[in-house]
């Protein structure tokens, strides 16, 4: 890790403590920020580290939510079991999609669109499939609050759960980044043919990346479903979550361990604040600000906040941004 990233790490840790002085409204936002930061980080493991960018993370999010939710609803199964099953199922989906991508040499933008297509198919399927509540969705029965049901009695407890999820994602991302696995990921991202010539198996790399990323995202789906207590196809399978986390990742800095977290920590609360401040008076004003913020951030920090700060400070040994064309 670079000095900048240690600094970022510290800021985020301080930020993570701050919610203990906050009211439940802001705690709620802090919980969602942590969830989004975790998902963004999970996306980054595939999209940033290994260059396997997906537009269809809604698929994994939805699998996580619906596996645990439907099992809980129909059979009263513990959400923990659902969480594990959902993560495994999402990992499997990730493996299949990544394998398709490499097997039929679908890369870059086409791969992103392939993932989008899978997510859309799942979305439409769930919207029509009665046992999963079709387009009406499923209301989950509230259970006894506590760790066992993953339903938390207070905003603070939810926030802690979100933080735990974020910690898990960061642990995975950091482990991938510093171990030889991360080197393999970057090699495949920068030049698949050259990586292959070095004896790295790109199928294995992309499959691993998508499986990890998918499983983590599915865990987020389970936690979020138990928080909302309502499963709805658009929320979970729709493209909104993916678009947001890609945005957070790009603004923070794609391919760095802390970039996605920083992006989410800055943008998500800002968006919520905008909604609270303006959303009620003029419908659409909050979306307007949010969209503008996205454009301004992308135009001002084309290499992400981590990259930009790194360059300004001049200490960071940046790993090059994936996909940047050579001179």
């Amino acid at each position: 890790m670079t000095r900048v990233e240690y600094g970022a790490c510290l800021v985020v840790l301080l930020g993570a403590l701050a919610p203990f002085w906050l009211g439940s409204y802001w705690l709620d936002i802090a919980f969602l920020t942590a969830m989004y930061a975790g998902i963004a980080s999970a996306w980054n493991v595939a999209g940033g580290f290994s260059g396997t960018a997906s537009f269809g993370h809604g698929l994994f999010f939805g699998i996580g939510a619906y596996t645990s939710g439907a099992l809980f609803y129909h059979f009263g199964t513990s959400p923990w079991l659902g969480l594990v099953l959902g993560a495994l199922l999402a990992a499997l989906a990730g493996v299949v999609i990544a394998w398709c991508g490499v097997r039929y040499s679908i890369r870059g933008l086409s791969f992103a669109v392939l993932t989008l297509a899978f997510a859309e198919i799942a979305w439409m399927f769930v919207s029509t499939f009665e046992p999963l509540g079709a387009s009406r969705g499923i209301s989950l029965p509230p259970g006894a609050p506590g760790l066992a049901s993953l339903q938390f009695p207070s905003a603070r407890a939810s926030f802690l759960a979100g933080l735990a999820f974020l910690a898990l994602c960061q642990a995975v991302a950091w482990t991938v980044h510093v171990t030889p696995l991360g080197f393999r990921f970057r090699a495949v991202r920068e030049n698949e043919t050259a990586a292959q010539a070095m004896g790295i198996n790109p199928v294995l790399v992309r499959v691993t990346a998508m499986a990890l990323s998918g499983a983590l995202t599915a865990i987020a789906g389970t936690i979020y479903a138990q928080y909302l207590l309502f499963l709805d196809p658009r929320t979970f399978f729709g493209p909104d979550v993916t678009i947001k986390v890609i945005l957070f990742t790009l603004v923070g800095g794609i391919g760095s361990v802390w970039g996605p977290v920083i992006g989410a920590a800055l943008l998500y609360p800002a968006g919520e604040w905008l909604r609270a401040a303006f959303g009620g008076q003029v419908p659409g004003l909050d979306i307007l600000f949010y969209g503008s913020l996205v454009m301004v951030c992308c135009l001002t920090f084309p290499s992400g906040i981590v990259g930009t700060i790194g360059r300004l400070v001049g200490h960071a040994k940046r790993s090059p941004t994936p996909g940047t064309p050579a001179a």
Partner: protein, 288 residues
């Protein structure tokens, strides 16, 4: 009979979608960027027609002649302001900026027109005609004819005109384009202008064929993206084929499959195309 009806409806829809998509194909070929604000920009054109009709009673078929050039200026400006500064960066960045733009457009439309579903009727609205014994709205047929004309004109311009040659040359090899004296940036700006202008011409015509809502943008962007990919992203012909595949599969799917499973058909076909046709896929992957 049901089948014939499905085929006729599907072809009509497919050709309309092909013209809608052609702007995205052009922009992708020349600048290597997928315009994720494509659908949102079409919504802008449609709502402008709606507004002109509500305020001054201008028929959308007429206002399209003014909205087209206006959207050309919009496209040209978008390139200069948003795309040009970042087009050499990570390709996800351009996508993200354009998604941001789509959000801004959606918000502005919501603020001005509200969330209700709208249409802007033209002189042919409310009437039906029969094609091969299949009843079909006249507005759809008008849109179909406009699309056929538009695609033909575009095809001829690309093939025969100097402008078309410059565009295809830039798409084929940017460095060589520089070296024969083509101003690549100018071609890119023009391509954005024309790609968006097509939406300006066709949007008002479609204002009584497709329903307008402020959040329609992303849906049509995804439809256009599917067509670009199914068609291989390289040629007008490919775009037409892609449009027909999507139009027919959706129409027939909705006719023959229970519930709304038919809506899945285009996506299923997209996956199939990506998996079994590496050539179309390769066209999308080349280096950009």
């Amino acid at each position: 009979m049901l089948f014939v009806a499905g085929v006729v409806q599907g072809i009509v829809l497919g050709i309309i979608l092909a013209l809608v998509t052609s702007g995205m194909t052009l922009i992708y070929r020349v600048t290597g960027i997928i315009n994720f604000a494509h659908g949102a920009l079409m919504a802008v054109a449609m709502y402008l027609a709606f507004d002109l009709q509500r305020s001054w009673g201008v028929d959308p078929l007429l206002s399209s002649l003014a909205i087209g050039p206006l959207m050309a200026i919009v496209g040209w400006t978008l390139f200069q302001v948003l795309i040009r500064p970042i087009r050499r960066q990570h390709h996800l960045l351009a996508i993200q900026v354009l998604l941001g733009l789509a959000l801004v457009i959606e918000a502005l439309l919501l603020m001005r027109y509200g969330a209700d579903m709208r249409t802007a009727e033209n002189v042919f609205s409310g009437r039906f005609t029969t094609v091969l014994g299949v009843g079909i709205e006249l507005t759809r047929i008008v849109a179909f004819i406009v699309s056929v004309l538009g695609l033909t004109a575009l095809g001829i311009a690309l093939r025969r005109s100097d402008w078309g040659r410059r565009l295809r040359a830039t798409a084929a090899d940017e460095m060589a384009a520089h070296l024969v004296g083509i101003s690549v940036t100018r071609v890119e700006a023009w391509t954005w202008g024309i790609g968006v202008a097509i939406l300006g011409f066709v949007g008002p015509v479609l204002a009584d064929v497709f329903k307008m809502t402020p959040d329609m943008g992303l849906r049509y962007t995804i439809v256009a993206l599917m067509i670009v990919i199914i068609g291989g992203g390289r040629t007008m012909l490919g775009t037409i084929v892609g449009g027909l595949v999507v139009g027919l599969s959706e129409t027939l799917g909705l006719l023959y499959l229970p519930g709304s499973y038919g809506g899945l058909m285009p996506y299923a076909l997209l996956v199939l195309v990506l998996v079994v046709n590496p050539r179309a896929t390769l066209a999308m992957v080349r280096g950009r």
